[in-house]
């Protein structure tokens, strides 16, 4: 079943990144600044954003193996009528979320990914994907993918998860 597929995929994946205190601070800074595009980013992220074009993309955004999904746990919105950075029709994007730090194979740079959930409908049920690189327990919620992040939305019903690039990660 799909559940099993997601589990076993995560079990065979090579991991490139390691967590460090500096890495964590970088990720924390991003989540404190807010993941949604409507919320201002911290200066460090903003400067990166202004000087660099969006990252190149390579791979299938509906595959769990896609580079942006390194810390995701949920249904991929690209399989649910949305895309890797947009919600399906009739849903509402959570303004707060958890983040991951994923390496883009195009430029081998690490990017901060905001996994905003799309909310207001029941589970999409398609393309369940669980990867846990940099995921941490519930006592560090900003990097925990075990949480339903449909918070601050009109409904807390979880539908699917996006993977939005919000900045480049600080050097490890």
């Amino acid at each position: 079943m799909k559940w099993l597929d997601g589990m076993t995929e995560s079990g065979t994946r090579e991991i490139a990144s390691k967590t460090s205190r500096r890495g964590f601070l970088g990720r924390l800074a991003a989540v404190l600044a807010g993941g949604a595009a409507t919320i201002p980013l911290l200066p460090v992220a903003r400067s990166q954003e202004s000087s660099n074009p969006p990252p190149g993309e390579q791979g299938d955004p509906t595959s769990c193996e896609y580079w942006r999904y390194c810390a995701i746990d949920g249904f991929l919105c690209g399989c649910c009528g949305g895309s890797m950075n947009s919600c399906p029709p009739g849903t509402e994007m959570s303004p707060i979320t958890w983040i991951g730090t994923c390496e883009n194979p195009v430029d081998q740079k690490k990017y901060i990914i905001s996994y905003n959930d799309c909310c207001g409908k029941s589970s999409c049920g398609n393309c369940l994907c669980q990867r846990n690189e940099g995921d941490r327990p519930l006592y560090r919620p900003q990097v925990s993918n075990d949480i339903n992040w449909c918070l601050g939305t009109s409904s807390n019903s979880y539908h699917c998860s996006t993977a939005i690039v919000v900045g480049t990660a600080l050097d490890e």
């Binding site: 079943m1 559940w3 099993l4 589990m7 076993t8 995560s10 079990g11 994946r13 991991i15 990144s17 390691k18 967590t19 460090s20 205190r21 964590f24 390194c70 810390a71 707060i96 207001g120 409908k121 029941s122 589970s123 049920g125 369940l128 669980q130 990867r131 846990n132 690189e133 940099g134 995921d135 941490r136 327990p137 519930l138 006592y139 560090r140 919620p141 925990s144 075990d146 949480i147 339903n148 449909c150 918070l151 009109s154 409904s155 807390n156 019903s157 979880y158």
Partner: protein, 378 residues
């Protein structure tokens, strides 16, 4: 013609009267105390979360249909805890007035173990944390008088409910900390993001009487402590990502953090603990952990292929149980001949003799979809 019809009616009545009609309206009940090998499978219904179930099964039975004892509904990743002193189960649930939308209502539902029916509820602040189910989202303290429910909005707090009086008492802020680990008296601890424990002692009224905080004692970056502890004798044994154990004595109102010890020792192969509900204990003090080899960053939720059994007091491994299929969650029954039960990657439940490690049977075909969490009956 009328005569003929009358005769036919009389004959029909006579035939009808020869069969004793079965009574209608019979509804089964369960015993107040459940046999030690009954289990509760929490099917969180990940693909339609408002329809979760707590399914009661007899893990001893090879009767595929007869081992199914009934179930309780558990809406939207409900969190539950069993009382030991009363035939009750407490379940924190979330409902919305229009299904996937509408006004949100959180409740603590009180179920009667004999009828599997709700016998009461307490409305909670609509703040309870919606996360993958754990043992520590809902716990009981104060001789099972008070229920504690972890909230995340993302502000972190704990709701306090008097389950005897069926009354909401208080909301206790626990900023920067998560979950609720029961302690002696009216106290609980939460794990904090800086690697410390926050402890809150409640007063008679359920309000915070005092609080304290340990020094940070684990490395949140390089070897984070998991929030999934095996509990025995009031001691929580927390595994870390890399396979160390932090024993924390929660019997008093101040946690006592013991020296960490390694589960791995000189074992080769990159073994690490992993899974969803990866830790369990039995009544003799043995601790059980789901383990996988070739561990790496991000493997801490991978299914386990073995269960390693430790003597928590001696800090030494007792046995290794090779699983017939990799598993994501485990539990152990609380009797002298304990069963190890495991949700395998096919979302069935494998039953093992916890002492010998022998695989006894697989519980499938019980209407389950995603039985993410297992509990032994009390």
């Amino acid at each position: 013609m009328k005569k003929l019809m009358l005769v036919a009616l009389i004959c029909a009545s006579a035939v009808f009267a020869e069969i004793q009609p079965e009574p209608t309206g019979i509804i089964e009940t369960l015993p107040e105390t459940w046999p030690a090998h009954w289990i509760i499978a929490h099917d969180a219904a990940f693909f339609h979360m408002s329809d979760g179930k707590l399914i009661v099964l007899d893990a001893d039975s090879d009767d595929v249909t007869g081992r199914f004892k009934g179930f309780m509904n558990a809406s939207f990743i409900g969190m539950f805890v069993q009382a030991r002193t009363r035939p009750e189960i407490y379940l924190a649930e979330t409902f919305r007035s229009r299904g996937s939308r509408g006004e949100r209502t959180d409740v603590l539902t009180i179920y009667d173990k004999r009828t599997l029916g709700p016998v009461g509820e307490v409305v909670l602040p609509p703040k309870r944390s919606s996360n993958m189910p754990t043992d520590y989202n809902l716990q009981l303290v104060d001789d099972e008088k008070l229920a504690l429910i972890y909230n995340f909005t993302p502000a972190q707090s704990v709701s306090v409910v008097d389950v005897v009086a069926r009354e909401f008492l208080a909301e206790i802020p626990i900023p920067g900390c998560a979950l609720t680990y029961p302690m002696g008296g009216r106290a609980f601890s939460s794990v904090c993001g800086d690697g410390s424990l926050l402890t809150v002692v409640l007063g008679d009224d359920g309000q915070q009487a005092s609080s304290s905080r340990t020094e940070p004692f684990f490395d949140v970056d390089d070897d984070p402590m998991m929030e999934k502890a095996a509990m025995h004798g009031g001691i929580a044994y927390f595994p870390t990502f890399h396979g160390n154990i932090y024993p924390v004595d929660l019997n008093g109102t101040v946690p006592v953090v013991g020296e960490p010890w390694s589960m791995i020792g000189d074992e080769e192969g990159g073994w690490r603990p992993g899974g969803l509900q990866l830790a369990a204990s039995d009544s003799s003090g043995h601790l059980y952990f789901l383990m996988h080899a070739q561990g790496r960053e991000g493997s801490h939720k991978d299914p386990g292929v073995e269960v390693w059994v430790f003597d928590g007091e001696a800090e030494s491994r007792v046995s290794r149980i090779e699983l017939s299929l990799p598993a994501i969650s485990i539990a152990v029954t609380r009797d002298d001949n304990p069963l190890l039960i495991a949700t395998n990657i096919n979302m069935e439940i494998d039953v093992y003799d916890a002492t010998s490690g022998n695989h006894l049977r697989t519980l499938g075909d019980f209407g389950q979809e995603t039985p993410l969490i297992l509990r032994a009956a009390h």
